[in-house]
Amino acid sequence: MNKHASPNLKAAKIAGGVHTDQRHDSAHKHVAGTAVYIDDMPEPAGTLHVGIGLSSVAHGKLKSVDLSAVRSAPGVVDVLTHADVPGENDVSPSGMHDDPVFAEGKVQFHGQPIFAVIAETREQGRSAARLAKIEYEELPGIFDIWNLDPEKDKQVTTPLTLTRGDAAAAIAAAPHRIKNRMKLGGQDHFYLEGQVSLAIPGEDDEVIVYCSTQGPSETQHLVAHVLGVPSHAVTVEVRRMGGGFGGKETQANQCAAIAAIAAKKHGRAVKIRLDRDEDMTATGKRHDFAIDYEVGFDDEGNILGVDFMFALNAGFSADLSGPVGDRALFHCDNAYFYPHVHAKSAPLYTNTVSNTAFRGFGGPQGMVGAERVIDEVAFAVGKDPLEIRKLNFYDPMGAEGERNVTPYHQKVEDNIIHRIVAELAESADYAGRRRTIDAFNANSRFIKRGMALTPVKFGISFTKTESNQAGALVHVYNDGSVHMNHGGTEMGQGLHLKVAQVVAEEFQIDLDRVKITATTTAKVPNTAPTAASSGADLNGMAAQDAARQIRKRLTDFAAEKYQVPTDQVVFLPNRVRIGNQEIGFNELVKQAYLNRIQLSAAGFYKTPKIHWDRAKGRGHAFYYYAYGAACSEVSIDTLTGEYVVERTDILHDTGRSLNRAIDIGQVEGGFIQGMGWLTTEELVWDDKGRLRTHAPSTYKIPLASDRPKIFNVALTDWSQAYEPTIHRSKAVGEPPLPHGMSVLHALSDAVASVADHKICPRLDAPATPERVLMAVERLKAEAAGK
């Protein structure tokens, strides 16, 4: 990329426009080890390093904090505590003032930062941090939400209720009713690059923070808040992250703040990079949930009414737990129409790390609840769960019926789940393999197979309306090369590439003429975090707006100069047709420059149509939905609970994809991550509230050898966004993650086979081999007891 070859002026198409498969813009650097992450940047001379001091108890008063041994350790320059925070000792992203940078007076979870050692080397900082003598007055702690009362126990923020119809009455009147609970574990992000920030002090109150953050604007604002300076004094920049997945949406801010405080205090650059164990212990994760459900249904398996309580483990502070709980409710229907529904969230306070955004943001948890309900109904009426799923789908796009209103009163206008599921069931040979599996199970004593096909409908937009805006900055230099900047951040998802494709398309120039640059709050202000799958939707539009402004100026200039109507100025690949002649894009730019045409523009976009009234639980919360379905088959060992995924087929909708190669990568990666969440990724806290799985030795994300043995991923080639999104593409970051549910349900199906599919296995997640074996044992016992 960015080669100096001269552009092809005869090309029929530009190289690298939208709807073409392009490699990640940094791929050649990734593979060479030359892509620069924050910890790889050359440190300014005299850079200091941070070792962090974490609480060793989960809940208690700080009786005394003796840091003298820390201070006198070799290489230690300073030790920072809450007393050193110049502004407010708080990095709460929700304005709740409940997220101290450093604990003050009390600690609320094991691993909470109490102090930071500033030392000449990271090694010295880390070892000095261990010398602190801290006395706590330990208080009883809450570490698990399972036994809390979601109606009465302490919540970190206001819960949400969604109501449509009269669920209680519908359930009471239904021919069949089931009421039960489900346990659903959390998930560590396990981005390969841990939290890291490098702060470089500037003049006056200024500081630049290079931070691995998904939300540079928020990091900027919180660093300013912590330093007690205006936001204009703080610049936050990030070229790329080594993975984010939501874990660097708010969780990057604390490290950024610590580095900035130290840098300003000492007038030296300061770097903080958490060790993996510290990262996993001290930063938030996907929320674990306790889901209570009650469903009323008829003999056929039609759902008549549903009541949900989604209790989520918020941890010790609000962070994003309110909106995460909201999104669980927004997805408690998955792709199903509930004639009557009542659903509530309960973001419960516990003495664990404050849980946060994670790819899907509560949505996947909501869907897992919906799929459990489907399973319950299917087992109760003795049908294949897929039949129950199909029976309860929202009406398809264009249908006249009434079955298209969500629990939050938004009409589903673009539903294509029927076609996706039908195509997938066909291509995966669901019916044929179902028979093969039954035959296999009949002849296999210890190994049992199972299969499930699960749908996904995922709502796209931030439910926080003001987050649905984006800015971009595009410069065309007088040689015709283009500098592109926007508010989105790159964490591997190929966002910069997609936005560059959009800009290339607007100017009709080859992709390598568009320079991708680091995200910085100095170029594009007040941006939303790159989250909610919205990166390309929002920033692509903003960049397109900027490019169009410049293109219009170029068009007007050419029309005037060459005395042709503006509709005779046409941007062709790398050239422009003006009346009867063609000149190179670069040439036109040169002429425009000489004629003092402004070749720089700031673009802006805000998502239309959406609104949301949280108090009423009503609104058009999502601009559109992304759809998909997955079919997985597994084998389980009924002696040990071990399993393998034999095959997975996925059909996923990304509208008119901007870049199918990138989107397929998102679908594959999202599925595996979702599968990990629901299978082997188990977070274990002990009875003192200490996380026991704080490193990859104990926390097991999927490996290459956990992939399905056969793994077919396809994108729908016929769908396009119903709304005028960027080139009619759809968001792809989060929607594929819940495809992992197909594995959970395939495991459940295999377990069910030990009791002749008569008993609902109620397999909780993560379905570790242990959980699978215990479910097998339970079903065998129940079947024998009957």
Binding site: R23, H24, A27, H30, V31, A32, G33, T34, Y37, D39, D40, P42, R130, H189, F190, Y191, L192, E193, M241, G243, G244, D277, R445, F446, I447, G492, Q493, E633, S635, I636, D637, L639, T640, G641, E642, V644, A661, I662, G665, E668, G669, G670, Q673, T680, R692, A695, P696, S697, T698, K700, I701, L703, A704, S705, D706, R707, K709, I710, E770, L773
Partner: protein, 491 residues
Amino acid sequence: MTKTRNEIRFLLNGEDVALSQVAPDETLLDYLRLRRSLRGSKEGCAEGDCGACTVLVGRLTDGKLVYESVNACIRFVGSLDGCHVVTIEHLRGEAGKLHPVQQAMVDFHGSQCGFCTPGFVMSLYGLWMKEPKPADAAIEKALQGNLCRCTGYEAIMRAARAISSYGKVAKDPLAVERAAVTEKLTVLRDGSRVEIGAEKHRLIVPADVDDFASILESEQKPTIVAGSTDVGLWVTKHMRDISPVVFIGHLDGLRTISEKDGLVSIGAGVTYTEAFETLSKRIPALGPLIDRIGGEQVRNMGTIGGNIANGSPIGDTPPPFIALGATLTLRKGKARRTIPLEEFFIAYGKQDRQPGEFVEAVHVPVPAKDSYFAAYKITKRRDEDITAALGAFLLTLARDGTVASIRIAYGGMAATPKRARAVEAALTGKPWTEAAVEAAMTKYAEDFTPLTDMRATAEYRMLAARNLLMRFFAESQGGKAPIQVSRHRVA
């Protein structure tokens, strides 16, 4: 008298390195990133699990230069004397041209965030040099020690399958320079003892095994470091002071494998990778077990001797070795003693090893042709995971179908690797039938009281451990239906 040298000498990519200042606990990754500003290798965990730090280390084995992937994060610089360290930076071709492995990864979209990518490239590079056209099973095995959180691996697999269409191993710089590097390394290995540092910051690289034996007798509380797959973590995670360190991974005298009278003798310094060939051939059930120890990098570094010497109740080699009736040779100075392996493990954290003594070799009897042997490891995640429970069984049947003898040993079920003697007793002399097995399954509670931890609950450990006996029985009966789930057999 052995010569003494005061510097560590090795090759780093194309450069000769001689270091007279090396901390005994300085990791290769810190050396590369901090001292040399070679920042292509990443730190993702600093404990050997994620592979982001993967580099290749070439060393001479019987005069032959072998490159293997290792985790730079837990490899100590002091252990590199006489080695060739190859980092991602060495793959840079003329005019920045990408290496075949790299180009395949680019073309098949094998990177997303890219943080894991240099490590994957190095692991695949190591594989490609050994096996240019690997089957999927071989690729997965080579990648067991590399975590990627973004791609879901499928794209990396596609890239891995395609590498050989991008270039020939014979043309690879490491192949072209093989003779020259071999010669250089031969010269570096001058038979000296290396000693660096003083007082609390000391490391020693013995000249040979005798030298090692004498050093152990004279040093106060030295830390023996073989593959550093345990000791590395004491440093990176627990910041333990390990000086003085005695590195032994290079000692040829501990790296031998031999067989005599049905007894396979494995030197303490033999790595899992090196032991694999012999063990998987002679005792086939050990092949798949070794394949599930750590990831490739850990198997390339970790030694069987270290796995035994560390005394861990969840080490994977002791239970099968105990079931097979292995013995252990310990040496102090010139004196040797050989004991049954199971007697080495006295209690949690306590082994039968005297000060100044070291593990020299383990001797594993090859099971008789008419016996059944199996070892089953149970983990949360199939690969690169530490044992929750591991059962090993050696059965010999009498002519009449009764159990002539059975030896059963477990890991993860007690404070040490331990025999299931009550279960063995319940089976011995009985007919080898499902009924007898079921009766014996009730005896586990007499042998074991497992713990609950983050890997498994006591209840699960007990249940699964018991069921492994049933699995063993079922497998001994043969039949068509599968008895275990399999990664490699397509359903």
